[in-house]
């Protein structure tokens, strides 16, 4: 239930502005990959191209290929909606739907697409997804309450439960802990470790310790200056990137000399 991603010669543009230049990267199935780099280096932009979420922003477009187990996301006739149902995403700030209960939030992907589902199936899907997000024990008694009543960390895990309820192949996380306190952050990090048993996880983070703790592989992005495109500088085993990087800029960044 998880697929690998291979990116070939990817350029991302906003209108005429080249935001990310020439990325080549191979992400293994059932692994956690972290994208690190200074602000504005294009790592979040690049992450969004992996499930075509960048298309929500008018004028954004890409050149190149992103292969999901060999299928090009940008191939002719590919529907971005189909792509997104296979590659889920968790955002920087928890964003449960305020009009829906906890249970409906988990079922959102199914219900919003008008898929028929029996009550029994729905119940088991809710429980499975919430257990998968380590949230079941905390909310099982108040599934009918609004999701916005939960704490920030719980809301973020609810969003993860919502993402895995549609049974994606890959889960993208865009700085999922930056709006959370340390304890909630720890809970999410534990969860990421468990998620990789079933899913391919890609996480963007500002926090190098977090990248070191959770990821198997790390990609370092950097930008030469304002107005210049972001680039993938170095990609390798997390251990190597943090202890023995080959590029000077990577070493400077992970040792805290800039960024």
């Amino acid at each position: 239930m998880s697929k690998r991603i291979d990116v070939k010669d990817l350029n991302v543009y906003y209108g005429k502005f080249l935001a990310v230049e020439d990325v080549n990267i191979n992400i293994d199935a059932k692994s956690v990959t972290a994208f690190i780099g200074p602000s504005g280096c294009g790592k979040s932009t690049f992450l969004r191209t992996l499930n075509r979420m960048h298309e929500v922003i008018p004028g954004a477009r890409v050149e190149g290929e992103v292969l999901l187990d060999g299928d090009n996301l940008y191939g002719p006739g590919v529907d971005p909606v189909t792509v997104r149902s296979q590659i889920g995403m968790v955002f920087q700030r928890p964003n449960p739907f305020p009009t829906m209960s906890i249970r409906d939030n988990v079922l959102a992907g199914v219900k919003l697409n008008n898929k028929k589902i029996s009550k029994g199936e729905a119940d088991s899907l809710v429980e499975r997804s919430l257990r998968g997000a380590n949230l079941w024990n905390e909310v099982k008694d108040r599934l009918a309450k609004p999701g916005s009543g939960l704490s920030g960390g719980q809301q973020q895990r609810l969003c993860i439960a919502r993402a895995i309820a549609v049974e994606p192949q890959v889960i993208l996380m865009d700085e999922p802990c930056s709006a959370l306190d340390p304890i909630s952050t720890l809970a999410i990090e534990d969860l990421i470790n468990e998620l990789k048993d079933e899913y391919t996880v890609v996480i963007v983070t500002h926090n190098m310790q977090q990248a070191a703790r959770v990821s198997d592989k790390t990609a370092f992005f950097n930008i030469a200056g304002t107005g210049k495109p972001g680039k993938l500088i170095e990609y390798g085993d997390t251990h190597t990137i943090f202890s023995n990087p080959t590029v000077k800029a990577t070493e400077d960044y992970v040792s805290g000399r800039f960024g």
């Binding site: 929500v56 909606v81 739907f97 697409n113």
Partner: protein
């Protein structure tokens, strides 16, 4: 004891050269007394007393301030007097209108049968009788009430889908497009169309399409829609704009299509604001007189068909009863009916305004704990 070390001063250096705190009250009392005295000379009335006292109060306070505090402070006091005065002046008509409607409208409203009889068969003879012999005032607003409800309902049914869909286009699809800019501009322009022109448009349109002299409730509803659509567009647009983009992205990331996202996530999130905006729009058009006057004609009896025949409405009922009393020689009963209808209309509008506030609160996304 430390207190003996600091000499007790009457006034701090910081309050030197200021009017005492009670100054406004002293001046007010003086102004009221002097005002009453002046009015007593020319013949007393409450309005004149208030006016003269207010002028005296302002002059007295500003003059005193100028003498003690200097010109700058005096100017400030003058500005305060003017600003507060403006507010009081603005309150006068509001109080006067509501008072007039209550006093003149209650007898009509309390008249038995006022709400559930029409003017069918009510002639000047009846009114002459009630004016000259004290017989009860007959006739009521049932037909007008029905007409208003039908016309407004039809206008709402036309305006809400068009207005809501347009606002969705502007917020969700039109971003940065020239067409969207044009629509926004012309919706703004439409807000300024005089209501009578909207009525003439509907009349001209139906005259051209159906036949000269076509006057029905539906024509009036079209006229009201022209007035209502821009209001609905503007308020819904504002409401859709404040739905956080994060929610849309969350839905897209779950593989939900844009139209389902809009219908199932964006609109439910904004529904409280949209509903309250629609209610306010209804409140705005329900009291419109001119467009109905030129599109639905007058009727004295019940007409349940918006597509055929003249139709009465509350505002046109008020208008015709005042301007063309049922009995020209004894306009009293007509006046009573008109004011009763005005009271009903105001109550309706206020209820709608209240409902808009309640709706906003009830449908608001619950932040449960």
């Amino acid at each position: 004891m430390t207190s003996t070390l600091t000499p007790v001063r009457k006034r701090s250096a910081l309050t030197k050269g200021q009017l005492p705190k009670a100054a406004p009250y002293i001046v007010l009392a003086l102004a009221l007394v002097v005002g009453a005295a002046i009015l007593a000379l020319v013949g007393f009335n409450a309005f004149g007393w208030g006016l003269v006292s207010a002028v005296l109060f302002a002059a007295g306070l500003v003059g005193w301030s100028a003498a003690v505090e200097g010109a700058r402070k005096a100017k400030d006091k003058l500005a305060t007097c003017l600003v507060v005065g403006a507010f009081l002046v603005a309150l006068l008509p509001l109080i006067s209108v509501i008072w007039t409607v209550l006093v003149k409208g209650l007898p009509g409203l309390l008249d038995p049968g006022f709400l559930n009889t029409s003017m069918n068969g009510v002639t000047g003879a009846f009114d002459n009788k009630s004016a000259e012999e004290g017989a009860p005032v007959v006739g009521g607003i049932y037909h007008a009430l029905l007409g208003t409800v039908q016309i407004t309902l039809l206008a709402t049914v036309i305006s809400v889908p068009v207005g809501l869909l347009t606002s969705i286009y502007l917020v969700e699809y039109g971003e940065g497009k020239a067409l969207a800019r044009a629509i926004t501009f012309f919706v703004d322009v439409m807000t300024g169309i005089p209501s009578i022109v909207a009525g003439l448009f509907a009349a001209a349109f139906f005259f051209a399409v159906v036949g000269p002299g076509t006057k029905t409730g539906a024509v009036a509803a079209v006229a009201l829609s022209v007035l209502m659509i821009p209001v609905v567009v503007r308020s819904s647009e504002e409401m859709l704009k404040i739905v956080p983009n994060e929610l849309r992205e969350a839905a897209y990331a779950l593989g939900v299509r844009k139209w389902r996202t809009i219908l199932r996530v964006v609109i439910p999130t904004a529904i409280s604001g949209i509903a309250s905006g629609v209610t306010l729009a209804i409140a705005r058009v329900i009291g419109e007189t001119a467009p109905i006057l030129v599109t639905a004609g007058f009727a004295t009896s019940i007409n349940n068909n918006v597509f055929g025949g003249w139709m009465a409405s509350l505002p046109t009922f008020i208008y015709t009863q005042i301007l063309n009393p049922t009995s020209p020689s004894n306009p009293g009963p007509s006046d009573q009916r008109a004011w009763g209808a005005a009271l009903v209309l105001i109550i309706l509008v206020m209820l709608l305004n209240l409902a808009a506030r309640l709706v906003a609160r009830i449908f608001a996304p619950k932040a449960g704990r």
